[in-house]
């Protein structure tokens, strides 16, 4: 059985760092509704860090769609980011 999310997942680690929460509190379904630290300032910060870390430019539509970590992962994969 292959674990879909590796134990040291880059994206989870990045979200944990930006939201300033422990990575074990985060799952693929984590969202601003379930994580109180995920406010608009943190969201802005996330965009900066994601764009820089994966060398991508996100459109406003993509940014607004990223309401969970799973969606963010999907958006990044569709933009050709293979590490996530």
């Amino acid at each position: 059985m292959i674990d879909e999310v590796p134990s040291m997942d880059m994206l989870i680690a990045l979200f944990a760092e930006c939201l300033n929460v422990a990575s074990d509190r985060l799952t693929e379904d984590s969202s601003p509704e379930s994580i109180s630290e995920w406010d608009s300032l943190a969201a802005m910060n996330l965009v900066t860090e994601i764009e820089e870390r994966f060398d991508v430019t996100l459109s406003t539509r993509e940014i607004m769609s990223m309401r969970t970590i799973a969606i963010a992962r999907d958006v990044l994969r569709r933009k050709g980011v293979s590490e996530v």
Binding site: L41, A43, M44, T48
Partner: protein, 585 residues
């Protein structure tokens, strides 16, 4: 000198900031408050890291609620949720008067006044905050409006916006000058960086945050530089090599006709570099030469080459010959009576730079770039000689130094007693007035040697002292037969009952060694007596540089009451000198 940050610098600053946020261990440095018409939080990591690198430190950065700057200035404690040491008011015209601007580009020129009134409201609120709370406040000069709904590039509407912007800038400049605010030139900053490059429309629409991370770094850089200039001492002397530094080529080999200096490249780049040095000289920086050359060759270039921008009388000291440059620099420092740590040395030879650096790590050594086109950039964006404004004393410094040379000649030729007698010193002493604040703050921040407590204060802090009821700030202005020294001494006194607590007492080294320090003390005692003060309490806080002042309190009649504290009854203070005339300032 480049000030752009790499993506890595930006990321490292953000990571460090997050760590500091979570462990909260470092409670030193400035608490910054930012009131802005847009989301400004991205500046925090960059501002903090640059403040820490500058030595000013940064304890925390607080943000007032978004786009409520007038209210925030009226109640900064509530807005910043804490006491702050410095406030930055960052704003744009398009945020404070959006509908008036829209009407304006639509052809209603009468709306200019409404925009100016709104801008004036912001400036007055910032001034009020500084006046009431004493928090030094950086007020932004706003950039040219640039919003999606207002096309300032439009051929038809652009001119109205530009005209309105000019009117707003004039109004804000006036408020800054009238209220002693710190002028944060956001407009020039964004022009240099590039308006289009500074803005990230996505973040503006999503988060009301208009700027790119790179531009936030630059805003932080500029604000840090302004705070540094307002609080710390600038360098005092620029020491220049000659060959391949202030002209191209080697005068001893190429001859005066063969060196590159003048209208055409590369001579034009060397002349631009000289122009920068000449401007520094006019603003009170000593310019000196340290060159391995035949002195006659160098002076011939100064006297005869029409490409020279620096003139011979702008050179305070010249060390031209075949000795080591480090010895020359030591001699320059001795003659100017400044520390070698206030010297910036420029040379095109990496070997000379390395030799000076290894013998005198305190000297700031700059290697002149091999490409002359880069030479004029060496002193641009460079904080060493930053200052907020040029005072009369600065402008007179070159002249003062020559007067000092004449004094020195007389001192050598006469006995100490005769020397003091013949100087005909006049001391003018009295309370500091607002017009003196620039010079007084400069002395407070620059004087290292004869300084009993070495307490530094910004201009705003000095202005605040002037209105404190229990505080007296005295200035000493000095003159002799060779000319005026200007204001050379400052004393800050706090009244506690019938005692004056000497918070600060300092004298420029230019005035030392002629009985002035003693006479200043005696004159203070005289003023104290008039005001019913019975004793003066003072302290001496030793630093690496103020040993010259160590014995002073004892000499003028103070007795030691503890490790650092001294006290004297007014009648026991000595020091009046028969050769010195004391009159009110």
């Amino acid at each position: 000198m480049t000030i752009a940050a790499s993506a890595e610098d930006l990321r490292a600053s953000r990571a460090k900031w997050k760590l500091r946020q979570s462990d909260q261990a470092d409670l030193t440095g400035l608490a910054i408050g930012i009131a802005s018409t847009f989301t400004s939080e991205p500046i925090a990591p960059y501002f903090a890291s640059q403040l820490i690198d500058s030595g000013l430190g940064c304890r925390t950065v607080h943000f007032a609620p978004y786009n409520q700057i007038v209210q925030s200035c009226m109640n900064p404690l509530a807005a910043f949720n804490d006491k702050v040491d410095v406030a930055l008011v960052l704003w744009r015209i398009e945020d404070i008067a959006p509908s008036a601007l829209h009407d304006l580009v639509g052809g209603r020129h009468d709306r200019v006044q409404d925009v100016v009134n709104a801008a004036s409201g912001v400036a007055q609120a910032a001034a009020e905050m500084q006046r009431v709370t004493g928090i030094p406040t950086l007020l932004a000069i706003p950039p040219l409006p640039y919003a999606p709904g207002l096309d300032s590039t439009s051929l038809a509407f652009g001119p109205a916006l530009v005209g309105c912007h000019t009117a707003v800038v004039r109004c804000v400049e006036e408020a800054i000058n009238a209220n002693g605010l710190l002028r944060f030139d956001f407009n020039t900053l964004i022009n240099h960086f590039g308006l289009e490059r500074a803005i990230d429309w996505r973040k503006w629409y999503l988060y009301r945050q208009p700027y790119t991370e790179q531009f936030w770094w630059r805003i932080a850089e500029r604000a840090t530089r302004l705070l540094e200039a307002s609080r710390s001492a600038r360098k005092k002397c620029l020491v220049l090599d000659c060959d391949n530094t202030i002209w191209g080529g080697v005068v001893g080999e190429d001859g005066i006709e063969g060196i590159a200096l003048g209208d055409d490249f590369p001579g034009s780049a060397f002349r631009d570099f000289q122009r920068q040095a000449a401007i520094l000289a006019a603003g009170g920086v000593f310019v000196a030469l340290a060159s391995k050359n035949n002195p006659a060759d160098v002076w011939r270039v100064f006297d005869e080459h029409d490409g020279m921008a620096l003139s011979r009388d702008q050179i305070s000291v010249a060390q031209i010959g075949w000795t080591e440059k480090a010895d020359g620099i030591a001699e320059i420092a001795r003659q100017l009576n400044i520390g070698i740590d206030s010297i910036v040395f420029v040379d095109d030879s990496p070997i000379e730079i390395e030799k000076v650096r290894s013998r005198m790590p305190e000297v700031t050594c700059l290697l002149a770039p091999a490409d002359p086109a880069e030479l004029p950039l060496l002193l641009l964006n460079n904080k060493y000689f930053d200052q907020l404004r040029v005072t009369d004393e600065d402008r007179a410094r070159g002249h003062s130094f020559r007067a000092e040379k004449n004094r020195e000649e007389m001192r050598v030729a006469t006995s100490p007693e005769e020397f003091r007698q013949s100087l005909q010193l006049t001391l003018k002493i009295g309370p500091v007035r607002p017009a003196h604040v620039g010079r007084v703050a400069q002395l407070i921040n620059k004087t290292n040697q004869f300084n009993l407590t070495t307490r530094r204060r910004s201009e705003t802090e000095v202005s605040a002292l002037l209105v404190e009821h229990e505080t007296t700030v005295l200035a000493l202005d000095l003159e002799d037969r060779f000319g005026s020294y200007g204001i050379v001494g400052v004393a800050v006194l706090k009244t506690i009952g019938k005692t004056w607590e000497l918070d600060s007492f300092l004298l420029s080294c230019r005035a030392l060694g002629r009985g002035v320090e003693h006479a200043f003390k005696a004159a203070i005692a005289e003023i104290a007596r008039e005001r019913g003060i019975e004793r003066i309490r003072a302290s001496f806080l030793p630093t690496a540089k103020n040993a010259v002042a160590a014995g002073f309190l004892g000499e003028v009649g103070f007795s030691k009451i503890s490790e650092e504290a001294f006290e004297a009854e007014i009648d026991g203070i000595r020091g009046l000198d028969p050769y010195v005339t004391v009159i009110p300032l």
